[in-house]
């Protein structure tokens, strides 16, 4: 079956089998390999993307279900060659080592800060509890997200 999807503001179309997972469409058909595939059963969070602005596990959706919808992947975060503030903060805080989990964390964190611009540390930890990182111990990741929230507060003040 044929599907048409908008990813990071650009249209993509392709032929898919009904069983094609959205994560595989993004990586293999659209060629956007920043979305990583870890467990394929919704536990690790590596494949987290945004569907019409809401975080979802792309390994738990069929590509067919994204027909006509708008997706955001990690490639869409940085604009015009500049890193997104969350990416900058991850860099500053050493919030990644191997980087496999990072795209999923970034998209979860972006959605959190849109819904809750001033989260507590506990809220950050809860919002990111569905993303697993086996390198960092999470401390740098949590601090990076709190840094971005604090910087935005300072900017707004």
């Amino acid at each position: 079956m044929r599907i048409e999807v908008e990813i990071n503001g650009r249209p993509y179309a392709g032929e898919v089998e009904p069983r094609t997972l959205l994560s595989d469409f993004i990586r293999h058909e659209a060629g956007l390999t920043g979305t990583h595939v870890g467990c394929e059963h919704g536990v690790c969070g590596a494949c987290t993307i945004q569907l019409d602005g809401e975080t979802v596990r792309s390994c738990l959706m069929l590509a067919a279900q994204a027909n006509g919808r708008s997706l955001l992947t990690v490639e869409g975060l940085a604009g015009g060659g500049d890193l997104h503030p969350l990416q900058e903060a991850f860099h500053e805080r050493h919030a990644l080592q191997c980087g496999f989990c990072t795209p999923g964390f970034l998209l979860s964190a972006e959605a959190l800060l849109r819904e809750r611009p001033d989260p507590s540390e506990r809220e950050v930890r809860e919002a990111l509890a569905g993303n697993l990182c086996r390198c960092t111990g999470y401390e740098g990741i949590v601090k990076a997200v709190l840094d971005v929230a604090a910087a935005r507060r300072a900017e707004a003040a």
Binding site: L21, G42, C59, S108, E126, A129
Partner: protein
């Protein structure tokens, strides 16, 4: 792994959806339980009937004091619902424990019920609230099943293969009722090891439903009666915990019941 091949139906109406269901077809709602089963090939249905285009099932409303939840309501929608928070705060509390935000954005309330995992929060909360499940099939029409009859075994319900859970009816809690939900999971968002949902209204009404204490959500009538007859939270919790054989789970469950009873006092 990847799913085995299947035929894909994307109905736009409830009638079309019911027409597509049958012996070897599976309805797909949020997919947060079914798609992992497909990926692992534990489930290999011939046909997937995707309900996500059936807009008529996407409603959550209060009518005549009763809460009606259509089969396509996302867990995140229930979590944010002011109607639910005002009248059925137990549901608001329980749904916040369901996995993670990205899962709740897709997962549906009806899907949690139809999947019937004994460690799932929503079936336990709905059991404590005496919810009724309205199901329908093309061949046999509609029927209504009480929570106590709906859940039969782990991942097994009273649903026939051609039947669809269409809506959930949550009656108004008794006057002055207070509710609480408590669970213990090793990590926030993981399946809980034990948990309890409690609804209390003075000495008139007590409902206690346990999570992870058996093959289905478990009501504990002896503990409920004791509570109405003036037993302490600790005593009622001890009676509820007696459902479990394992020492650790018994102690854990009793403690969670005690906390929930006190919170709902």
């Amino acid at each position: 792994m990847k799913p085995a091949p299947f035929d894909y139906a994307a109905p736009r109406t409830l009638d079309e959806a019911l027409g597509a269901l049958g012996q070897d077809a599976k309805p797909l709602a949020g997919g947060q339980s079914l798609v992992p089963l497909l990926n692992f090939r534990f489930a290999r249905p011939a046909t997937i009937v995707d309900l996500n285009g059936v807009d008529e099932l996407a409603y959550l409303r209060r009518s005549g004091g009763t809460l009606w939840i259509g089969a396509l309501i996302r867990q995140a929608t229930l979590e944010r619902s002011a109607v639910a928070a005002a009248g059925w705060p137990l549901l608001t509390r329980a749904v916040a424990h369901v996995a993670h935000p990205a899962i709740r954005n897709r997962g549906t309330v009806g899907g949690s019920v139809a999947h019937a995992d004994p460690a799932a929060e929503l079936p336990v909360a709905l059991t404590a609230l005496d919810a009724r499940f309205h199901v329908r099939s093309a061949a046999r029409g509609a029927r209504t099943i009480a929570a106590g009859d709906f859940f039969q075994a782990p991942l097994m319900t009273a649903l026939e293969p051609d039947e669809l859970l269409v809506e959930i009816e949550v009656p108004p809690p008794p006057d002055g009722a207070r509710a609480a939900f408590a669970e213990h999971a090793r990590t926030h968002g993981d399946f809980a090891l034990a948990g309890a949902a409690v609804v209390r209204a003075g000495t008139e009404h007590a409902a206690i439903a346990l999570l992870g204490a058996g093959p289905t959500p478990v009501r504990v009538p002896d503990a409920e009666r004791a509570l109405c007859n003036g037993a302490s939270a600790a005593e009622a919790a001890r009676i509820a915990g007696a459902e479990l054989d394992d020492d650790y789970r018994r102690a854990l469950t009793a403690e969670l019941v005690r906390r929930a009873i006190e919170e709902a006092a």
